[in-house]
Symmetry: C2
Subunit: 390 residues, 2 copies
């Protein structure tokens, strides 16, 4: 069990004041560094992002844009409209452009979908990504379907179906793989489930972590975005921040019925991309880029899974099964999660995420992101050392 020194307790108080200001989300590294210069972060394992993919993007940006002196144009001129960028994404994901809505990050899409399509009652599986319930205004009744810790937060779709038949919501949210649990619904099972629930007006599936998923140890394309053409009630949301390592450029899209896309773009969302996100989607539409990315994705998944396997060997913690690029960890030796997080931060410069504040998580939980292979190794060693295991 970990305890902090007096000096560490003082800094911790300062840190939590900052966290309070950021609401239910972590303060950014920049905010943190400015407010508490004593903190030196060497590994941000709070941050859910494939670092190799960032390298790949930066490399292309340098070669295509920077060196050729084309960057100024990205800053100076208006980017293209939503439907123009949608048509570029279309070729990459094999979905017709009228079904694609481009967002200023997936978060803008979550906000737009909840505000415009959810009618009265929404079922949310807990624990999950908090904006899905935070962004719902008071006229929306929220009903929570709780995942069971004893069942490793694995979703039971049969129970969820019964719950929905009982509650009769108009909308349902599924984050797959789920955040912060890392739990996953197999593609086949999800398709059967969606087929069963034609009565729902909106089945909102957030696939922001789908590029990290594995099924029976196999890596493939597990997205259900192609299902939208036969399921008008399906909305598939996709952040590009995590898998492509580009959170700063704010790129995301959703696949939904053309009627829904038309409804959103009729009253706004025309110029919600920026010059760099437009460039990213152009790059994404190129086969050669997707091929290079695919190699990096596989490398990262393999490293990530082997990172999780190393964490499992530490006896003071319980590691929940994850096919995302982060893992939910429970402290089972009496250590408080905030002491654990702050110890890692002050003694090793490793920043991880407390998830105690998430609805539906009771206990001492943290979420650890998979970073580079080297960083992951350091995280494992530091945690072992904190628990005096090495």
């Amino acid at each position: 069990m970990i305890k902090l020194t007096k000096d560490q307790e003082i800094l911790k108080t300062k840190f939590y004041e900052l966290k309070e200001q950021a609401g239910t989300h972590s303060p950014s590294i920049e905010t943190l560094k400015t407010a508490i210069p004593e903190i030196e972060i060497s590994i941000d394992a709070c941050f859910l992002s494939n670092p190799y993919a960032t390298d790949l993007f930066v490399d292309h940006l340098n070669r295509d844009v920077m060196i050729k002196g084309k960057f100024r144009a990205f800053l100076e001129f208006y980017p293209s409209q939503n439907n123009v960028i949608a048509s570029r994404i279309s070729s990459a994901i094999n979905v017709r452009p009228q079904s694609i809505f481009v967002g200023n990050g997936a978060i803008e899409i979550i906000q737009a979908v909840i505000k415009n399509f959810v009618k009265k009652k929404m079922v949310i599986v807990l624990p999950t990504f908090s904006p899905f319930y935070e962004f719902a205004e008071s006229n929306i009744e929220l009903v929570f379907f709780y995942l069971d810790k004893e069942n490793s937060f694995k979703i039971n779709l049969r129970d969820l179906s019964k719950f929905i038949k009982n509650e009769k919501p108009d909308s349902l949210v599924l984050v797959n793989p789920n955040n912060p649990t890392g739990g996953y619904i197999l593609k086949e099972d999800l398709i059967s489930f969606i087929d069963l629930h034609k009565e729902l007006e909106n089945i909102i599936v957030d696939e922001s972590f789908i590029h990290f998923a594995i099924e029976y140890s196999k890596i493939s394309d597990f997205s259900i975005q192609n299902l939208v053409k036969n399921h008008d009630n399906l909305i598939v949301i996709k952040s590009m921040s995590k898998d492509f390592g580009i959170a700063g450029i704010r790129a995301g899209y959703a696949v939904m019925s053309p009627t829904k896309v038309e409804l959103l773009t009729r009253y706004g969302f025309l110029w919600n991309s920026n010059g760099i996100s437009e460039y990213f989607f152009s790059l994404y539409s190129k086969n050669y880029f997707r091929k290079e990315y695919e190699q990096i994705r596989r490398k990262y998944i393999n490293e990530t899974q082997s990172f999780f396997n190393s964490l499992i060997t530490i006896p003071n913690i319980r590691v929940y099964p994850s096919v995302a690029n982060f893992v939910l960890v429970e402290l089972i030796d009496g250590t408080r999660s905030e002491d654990f997080v702050f110890k890692l931060l002050l003694d090793y410069g490793i920043y991880i995420r407390i998830v105690n504040d998430k609805k539906g998580l009771n206990g001492e939980f943290v979420r650890i992101a998979s970073r580079s292979s080297k960083d992951n190794h350091e995280i494992v060693q530091s945690i072992k050392s904190i628990f005096k295991l090495s």
Copy 2:
């Protein structure tokens, strides 16, 4: 009077098909170039932007970020939340942070304000920036107050007051300086008008072009954003795209009552800035940057006004008084505005904006943006040459 050749007519048809797809707004240069490679644009005078300010921003970005290898972080990491960026803007504009809402461009703010604060009935002064009426959903009654061409589209505030007393709207939109007319309400007059209309729930003032304004030939700060602290019903919207020449990074903010800011950020808009827009606002908070910008602003205003004065000497057109960075021009020799625009585009590579499609403009109108001094000179010479005046 200008006529096109047959070949030019064919390209024109292609161009207007493209324009139709872009709705009531111009297709971007990128879209245009991709679709019609025959068109070579050397001067984009459709585009409302201070080119010297772009230079200034690019210069700082290069020195502060690119050369120091800090750019990757802007792409990789999540930018700060809305309120953090608001507090940086606060120091630049001397408005308390709780009253500042940061937008992904001013257009996101227009959308948010209309969707969240306008209740039932909104008065819009025409002609004006079209999203103000296009983004209003069918539950909002729109009432138009038409500016009079015979009075050079100058607004008569006494008549507007009477109109408002009669119509009893909850909201009013004023774009000052107005787009596309370039017309302007003096700061003093606008303040008196706002004082008179406490019965309005929302007075929405779009000051996106205020940095170009002059009063009695003097350049100063004519923004009324400081009035919000005593006028809860005032919402001042500010795009940074035009005056800072950075349309591609999507930066804008609004000053409104803290209650309104809180209402918007409670249900979304937390991470709507990107890495580069956050950097811009950090830069904007620095005195040295604002001093450098001020010189460039003055230079550009002076060049812009002298450009307008040159246009006035051309007898085939009528130039309406403007204190924005564009000018409304009417063709008064029988030339159709689309022939004029297309002739300039094909023969001189100068792209200007047709504004016939704007509600409230009847006649053959175009809008010409002020670019660099050299470009402005070329625009004047090309127009003269089209009309066989040189």
